[in-house]
Symmetry: C2
Subunit: 141 residues, 2 copies
């Protein structure tokens, strides 16, 4: 498989694939007689895993740590496992945080939904300066 094909299949751009190889996230690809990269389909599994790490917010330098351990192979399992476990905890914590934020969003949106004219500006309810009816300029600030 050449780089264009791998790009299509992996969802990464060819540029990004070369970049990942350059920095060490992807192993140096074998080249054919003319110097073009020739990939084995098995690389897709690794790319997919990298994608999971990326999706969950792992910075590239940490993926590099993992990738380096993986390249070293046998004897690095404990360290790789520890790295993933640490990451898992961070992701779990982040999910919890997101769920809290979702509740806040729900509340906020519900506030807008209860808008049968009762509320003017839910974000910044101004201290009602008692004045007849000509309340223009809700003074959001």
């Amino acid at each position: 498989m050449k780089i264009g094909e791998l790009a299509k299949r992996s969802g990464l751009s060819a540029h990004t694939i070369r970049y990942y190889e350059r920095i060490g996230l992807l192993p140096h690809a074998d080249r054919d007689q003319s110097g073009q990269r020739d990939y084995d389909a098995s690389i897709l599994i690794w790319i997919e895993f990298l994608d999971r790490l990326k999706t969950t917010g792992m910075p590239i330098r940490e993926m590099l740590r993992y990738a380096a351990l993986r390249e070293r192979g046998v004897g690095t399992e404990a360290e790789r496992s520890a790295l993933l476990e640490q990451h898992r905890e961070r992701v779990r914590a982040h999910v919890v945080e997101l769920q809290t934020c979702l509740l806040v969003l729900d509340t906020k949106i519900a506030g807008y939904a209860g808008k049968d004219q009762r509320m003017k500006d839910y974000d910044a309810p101004i201290p009602q300066r008692r004045k007849p009816a000509g309340a223009r300029q809700a003074g959001a600030r």
Copy 2:
């Protein structure tokens, strides 16, 4: 409250607060006689909300859209609500994605845990080329 105090209370740096004001995420702060920013505690609520948006991955340009609607005040509720609802869906989808990734991580970590010497390199199990016992170089690739 001066900017340093607000920085402490909000968790943003004074630099960031000024930056947010410059780009319009925070309203132009009132100044005291000597030109220094003087904040009302109510700004903390807005900053906290911005923080939620940031945590949930909203890009600044979209926060700016929301902030601008908020400044316009009355009459922009529907648009603000729509914006938040759209964002909420994205966040929900992202949480689902993260949970899928967590399952993958769990599996991966479980693989490392079942390491009573049975497995050498779980990442890249090499096609076992039958050879007596001297299996060095797990050839992760």
